[in-house]
Symmetry: C2
Subunit: 89 residues, 2 copies
């Protein structure tokens, strides 16, 4: 699965854990299946726009804010890899 | 299909037209099928996170910026309907 889905999954997990919620609680609030939330967090599925909306609403965010956090995570990952590459050179 | 997908479709169409692009041009830039882009614009399909990424990149936007524009369109639609309702009362 894509790096974007992986970053999105990490973002959702971080936001869920920041609330002190289990996957079950987030799934219930988002009206999604618990195992599907687990797959989203592990970047194993490609979420749809409707899923993004449900997760954002459950987390008290706009979809654009949730994606902005995901984009920041992607940016940090890119810098981290660049740093590792510069150490290796 | 959901109002969210309809608003997203209108947003994509407006951004495409602002560039003076045909659906064919946007589809080519986004590496998507032309008829699929048409369905997205008419709100007939639920786009995935990967499709959002492809369309945003083609339009020179972050996914979060594309969705922020979609959310503004949804907000405007809600105000418009409220105004129509107040005229009708």
């Amino acid at each position: 699965m894509s790096k974007l889905c992986a970053s999105f999954g990490v973002t959702v997990r971080q936001l869920r854990e920041a609330q002190g919620w289990s996957q079950e609680i987030l799934a219930e609030k988002a009206q999604l299946n618990r195992s599907y939330v687990g797959e989203v967090e592990r970047g194993k599925v490609i979420p749809s726009l409707i899923t993004l909306d449900k997760l954002a609403s459950a987390l008290g965010l706009k979809i654009s804010d949730l994606l902005a956090q995901c984009e920041r995570h992607r940016g940090q990952q890119a810098v981290y890899k660049l740093n590792l590459a510069s150490i290796a050179c």
